[in-house]
């Protein structure tokens, strides 16, 4: 059939049941993305004869004779349409995976539509930004960080309350430089993981377990193998017998080795049983249906309270606890922490007031819009190459080498731009099976998760039950704190131990209490595995402790801000969980006091939003604090190169990945500053084991404070070497030379850097090891109205204050905070992976798992404390995970203030709030 894409005519036949989305991509128009494949997210939006539709649910055959317009048809880099340019100007994307569909949709709006944006954009989901910037890009308004509209002339606002320091020639530092990929992202031209045409590509489809716990007694793949177009059917018989963990850390010993690529025992519903590699997804699916499997169904346990009891089935009873690093495999205990500082019994006996409660958090899906995916192949040198959607390409390389017994020089792992991660891609979920498939077939193989896979087999945020007991004297000074934690890591351990330890760390050490006790357990169940999620366990325990503190403030009769001032750690206090924390942590550039003051003032000041009238509406306000280390413990490494190129540009080779965190922008700014040049002269080659020396990875908020610091050091080193070169060249002193945008200047003399370095260029390197870590703070405050008849929670005012150190890029940092708040509001009010109690996930599509839409989010006022970190580049702290953590408890405290009942579990959905009011 004949149809056109962006004016170019195509003559091609779709398959009978093909969707327009994949058909367009078959024509190598990769700007049409898959977020959900069910018509819910809008990432695949296109115009058909000018009418916007979701191409994933549009039958391809109906495009016959039609004109299809994608984001690239609206405008291309250098020649953007108005709406695309506004998305650039407003920094209205982070990962950018939703952006192409967003601009296509927005291109259809006229002025009358602007008032209806919440309705019109409800099927355009963005997981990163929190929508404020998108709304402003479409509506063409600029606001300051408090949401106050600025004069139209203020084209590039810099939302901040502390003065943004312009450092002379280092002008780009502290200013809102746009992401280098901006123009490509808004036109759909920036390639993500699967946006590449690979000749002869095979597709991998997994046959998954229908049972929550079973042993495969027989597996017959003959009929599947015989299907034309099938190249391999992989079962546990093909799997390496090396146990590993899907979780990835700098030290692989952090995570339990309990996983095989393909196992003869399945421990959760949906686990891989076999993998088919075929010419197409359709053939692979058909073959998977032909595989005959005999299972011996084993007893299963789904309740974390029951799984450690005598008589419960041992899920990993076949493991050696010592070598796999599992505390007690027979009793499903993965990790535990028991410790006491001081004497809590005495602390409670001295208390005039005691509060206690048990809080429960739910399973949350990261819902990065780009699903997990890998394409693997063998290159001309027979190296295994993996192009993957990962936050940790170097750690993937290391573990793939270990699993398949290969030398690192024979494995290359890289990422294109990654469509969101939030911790979900600090995990090997696709790379291992693709590697096996490539090595067995010798062919290029792609494995792409469906959105359903993301909900049913991809690890979720750990559900945790947290009991907190606090004791305080008459005035509210804490005398004792006791935390008891039960974390359900599901069928595999992966990030279970790490999140358990982290959950009880900065949440507990934020408060100076003479007596503390922590009892934490992380246990196996036959549920879908839990994994790393923004905040890495902290948020769950912060929800409980900050809620308990709010109860305490009520009992004592003291303002909750005041209670925090009274008990929070100060720079002169040690950081204590169950003992004094390591001396790698420093309370540098302490900004908690400012955060508390700024939030309190903003809340007292209020805003113009009034509660709905009617006796059923009750108004309340609440706040919560959070603390987080600026990077993970025990080392986070980055080795960076910066090269002065023969063409006058500079190339940064850095291992960390860009997945919406904005590190590419910040790295560009840092290099440009050190080299006194404009950001446009800087190229960043990243997240590729070939292009950079090493990076532990983009997790633990390390992109700025580790990789960024190394970039700055390497660029400064290069600047020194260039001055030295100039001095040798001219027999003058190095100090006589300054760099000025690709030129070395000394008085009247000017030398071109390009000529100086010659065709070979000049490279400088630098390392950062993360040996010393700092601390960042956030405070969130809410004023809410609650409808006592329906349980509806309306946010009237939302305030977040952040101790981010020096703000390198105000617009981007504001975006990170807004995005963290948005994701946290989703966790607090809406999101829940529901299962049937027997291991089957029921929320398998996006429409049944509600991530925030434009209409669900308030504009959050963002204020920065005026601090400088002694460790971070230019005094910056990390601020990626942090903004998420205080939101849920602040909201719970505001709701409690409004209705006089305390929500004890997340999400605080309308039906739960309503039920709270019934007894």
């Amino acid at each position: 059939m004949t149809f056109s894409i962006n004016g170019e005519t195509f003559d091609s036949e779709p398959r009978a049941g093909q969707s327009l989305r994949t058909f367009i991509r078959d024509q190598q128009h990769f700007e049409v993305k898959k977020g959900c494949d069910t018509g819910d997210c809008g990432a695949c939006s296109v115009l058909i004869d000018g009418t916007p539709v979701h191409s994933c649910v549009y039958p391809a055959f109906r495009a016959e004779g039609k004109d299809v317009t994608t984001a690239s048809g609206l405008g291309m880099p250098g020649d953007l349409s108005d709406v695309q340019q506004r998305f650039v100007d407003h920094a209205a994307f982070q990962c950018g995976f939703c952006t192409a569909g967003m601009v296509v949709t927005a291109s259809t709006f006229d002025d009358d539509d602007l008032a209806e944006l919440p309705r019109l954009l409800k099927s355009n989901l963005c997981r990163c930004t929190g929508y404020r910037a998108i709304h402003e890009a479409i509506d063409h308004v600029h606001t300051d960080s408090c949401g106050v509209e600025l004069e139209p002339s203020a084209a590039a606002p810099e939302p901040h309350t502390t003065p943004v320091i312009k450092t002379g020639p280092r002008a780009s530092i502290g200013t809102s430089v746009a992401a280098p990929a901006s123009e490509r992202v808004v036109s759909g031209q920036e390639p993500f993981t699967l946006d590449v045409a690979v000749a002869g590509l095979l597709h991998l489809v997994v046959l998954s377990s229908p049972h929550a716990h079973a042993r495969i007694t027989a597996i017959d793949t003959r009929r599947a193998c015989a299907l034309p177009g099938v190249h391999a059917v992989l079962t546990h018989e093909h799997s390496p017998d090396t146990l590993f963990s899907t979780a990835r850390h700098e030290s692989r010993l952090d995570d339990p080795d309990d996983t095989l690529v393909l196992d003869s025992v399945v421990r959760y519903r949906g686990q891989r049983v076999a993998a088919v590699v075929a010419d197409s997804v359709g053939i692979a699916e058909a073959a998977a249906r032909l595989i005959e499997v005999d299972y011996e169904v084993l007893p299963a346990v789904f309740d974390p309270h029951l799984s450690t009891l005598e008589g419960a089935p041992s899920i990993h009873g076949d493991k050696n606890g010592t070598t796999s690093r599992i505390v007690d495999p027979q009793h499903n205990l993965v990790a535990e922490l028991h410790g006491e500082y001081g004497d809590v019994a005495t602390g409670f006996s001295e208390a005039a007031h005691t509060v206690t409660g048990t809080w429960q958090t739910q399973r949350v899906a990261h819902t990065h819009l780009e699903t997990h995916a890998t394409i693997g192949w063998l290159d001309d040198d027979d190296r295994l190459v993996l192009r993957t959607s990962s936050q940790v390409p170097f750690l993937v390389q290391t573990e793939i080498c270990r699993l398949f017994d290969r030398d690192p020089s024979t494995v290359r792992v890289f990422t294109a731009r990654v469509g969101g991660g939030f911790g979900g891609k600090q995990e090997i979920l696709t790379e291992d099976i693709v590697s096996l498939a490539v090595l067995v077939t010798g062919r290029s193989v792609q494995y792409e998760f469906t959105r359903e896979d993301e909900f049913t087999i991809s690890p979720t945020r750990h559900p945790m039950e947290v009991e907190v007991t606090l004791g305080a004297d008459e005035g509210g000074l804490l005398t004792a704190m006791k935390v008891e934690l039960l974390s359900d890591t599901g069928a595999y351990g992966n990030h279970g131990p790490g999140t358990m330890y982290h959950s009880c760390s900065e949440s507990v050490s934020l408060y100076t209490v003479p007596n503390k006790r922590v009892d934490a357990r992380c246990v196996y169940t036959n549920n879908v595995p839990s994994g790393a999620f923004r905040g890495y366990g902290l948020g769950q325990v912060i929800f409980a402790i900050e809620s308990a503190l709010d109860d305490l403030a009520r009992v004592v009769g003291i303002d909750p801000f005041e209670l925090r001032r009274l008990n929070s750690v100060t720079p002169s206090d040690p950081l204590i969980v169950t003992h004094v924390e390591g001396d790698d942590l420093i309370l540098g550039g302490y900004g908690l006091d400012q955060c508390i003051d700024l939030a309190e003032k903003a809340l007292a000041r209020g805003n113009s939003t009034v509660a709905p009238s009617g006796a059923e509406w009750r108004v309340g306000q609440g706040m919560a604090s959070s603390m987080i280390a600026t990077m993970p413990p025990r080392g986070h490494f980055s080795e960076v190169t910066v090269t002065a190129d023969a063409d006058g540009g500079y190339t940064v080779g850095v291992g960390t990945a860009e997945f919406g965190n904005g590190t590419t922008t910040v790295h560009t700014q840092l290099a440009a500053s050190a080299l006194s040049t404009s950001p446009t002269r800087i190229r960043v080659r990243q997240s590729d084991t070939d292009a950079a020396r090493y990076d532990t990875g983009a997790f633990g908020s390390a992109g700025t404070v580790v990789a960024g610091k190394a970039v700055l050091a390497a660029a400064e080193s290069l600047a020194r070497e260039l001055r030295q070169l100039a001095s040798e060249h001219t027999q003058t002193a190095p100090d006589a030379w300054t760099l000025d945008d690709g030129t070395l200047v000394s008085g009247d003399r000017r030398l071109s850097v390009a000529e100086l370095v010659g065709p070979e260029g000049l490279t400088a390197t630098a390392n950062e090891d993360g040996a010393r870590r700092s601390i960042a703070f956030n405070v969130h405050a809410f004023r809410v109205a609650v409808n006592t008849l329906t349980g509806e929670v309306l946010v009237l005012q939302s305030i977040q204050t952040a101790d981010a150190g020096f703000v390198l890029n105000p617009a981007q940092l504001r975006g990170q905070i807004e995005g963290g708040v948005a994701q946290a509001i989703g966790t607090a009010l809406y999101e829940e992976i529901i299962n049937d109690g027997e291991g089957t996930v029921l929320t398998t599509v996006l429409r049944n798992y509600h991530i925030p839409q434009l209409s669900d989010l308030p504009v959050t006022e963002v204020y920065f404390a005026d601090t400088r970190d002694p460790l971070g580049p230019f005094g910056a702290k990390s601020m990626s995970e942090a903004p998420y953590n205080p939101v849920a408890p602040a909201l719970a405290n505001a709701i409690t203030d409004a209705i006089g009942r305390r929500p004890m579990e997340l999400p605080m959905s309308r039906d739960r709030i309503w039920r709270l009011l019934q007894d």
Partner: protein, 272 residues
């Protein structure tokens, strides 16, 4: 998503073409549901859009809506007949979980036949006491009330091979004053309850239609506007509340009572 087991599309141009329907051969309207749910049993799509049915026909008896009319078309229905129930059409379109882009393809008939409790076209045409014209697989015609067509969560009274041809709304229904309320677990999320009241213009009778909160539409009829307690008792007598990701059954029951009372007050005010 791609429907990888589908190997054939039959463009239906006459009723005889519907004989293709049967096991694994299903009718295709807008596609926004079929292409969103993998079903490996399906091998053939029988395309109803090729019938080229006119989306609307207005006669002295009322409004005839083709099953293949899109929600976008329904939302643009001209307001030139003085129908008091007119606002209900766009109100119910906005109750669709999908945005205006989905309205561009999703059809009235597809929404009803999918039979999700939250199907807003089920809510709309039930509340208007519309009648569905079914083309039976055996070639006969059958007319059934829309409120009885949807029998449960994703179940209908249709047999395999049956096709929903059109919906008939009487002039009397179109002349009714209506009041509409929707609530979800989020501001404009998938409906947890859609409650619609309708006052008959001739005899003043009142019908309350509860949907989205119950597995199939529930209607309670009164000779005139009921008292608050009568209405509450009638709503509380419903026993088909259900729990899913869009709300717990007890909450759905409670908020339906709240919305029902708001509707009663609105219509009481309007009929003064």
């Amino acid at each position: 998503m791609d429907l990888n087991t589908v190997n054939r599309v039959v463009p239906a141009r006459s009723r005889a073409d519907l004989r293709e329907l049967g096991k694994g051969a299903v009718p295709l309207a807008g596609g926004s549901v079929l292409f969103a749910e993998p079903d490996p049993q399906i091998h053939t799509l029988v395309d109803l859009q090729t019938f080229g049915w006119a989306p609307f026909e207005v006669t002295e008896k009322g409004l005839e809506v083709a099953a293949t009319a899109t929600l976008a078309e329904l939302s643009r229905l001209p307001d030139d007949r003085g129908w008091r129930a007119y606002p209900l059409f766009s109100q119910c379109c906005t109750a669709l979980f999908g945005s205006f882009k989905v309205w561009n393809v999703a059809t009235v008939g597809g929404n009803i036949c999918t039979a999700l409790p939250a199907g807003p076209m089920t809510s709309l045409f039930s509340a208007l006491d519309a009648e569905a014209l079914i083309w039976k697989g055996d070639g006969s015609d059958l007319r059934v009330p829309v409120s009885e067509l949807v029998t449960g969560n994703t179940t209908t009274s249709l047999d395999s091979g049956d096709v929903l041809r059109s919906l008939h709304v009487s002039t009397r229904s179109l002349g009714s004053r209506t009041a509409y309320r929707k609530i979800a677990l989020s501001a404009i999320g998938r409906s947890g309850a859609v409650v619609i009241g309708r006052l008959d213009p001739v005899d003043g009778s009142f019908v309350l239609t509860v949907s989205a909160a119950t597995v199939h539409p529930e209607q309670r009829r009164f000779a005139g506007l009921p008292t608050a307690s009568e209405l509450r008792a009638a709503i509380e007598s419903i026993d088909s509340w259900f729990t899913d990701a869009h709300g717990a059954a007890d909450w759905r029951r409670a908020v339906s009572v709240v919305l029902g009372e708001e509707i009663r007050l609105e219509l009481t005010e309007a009929s003064r």
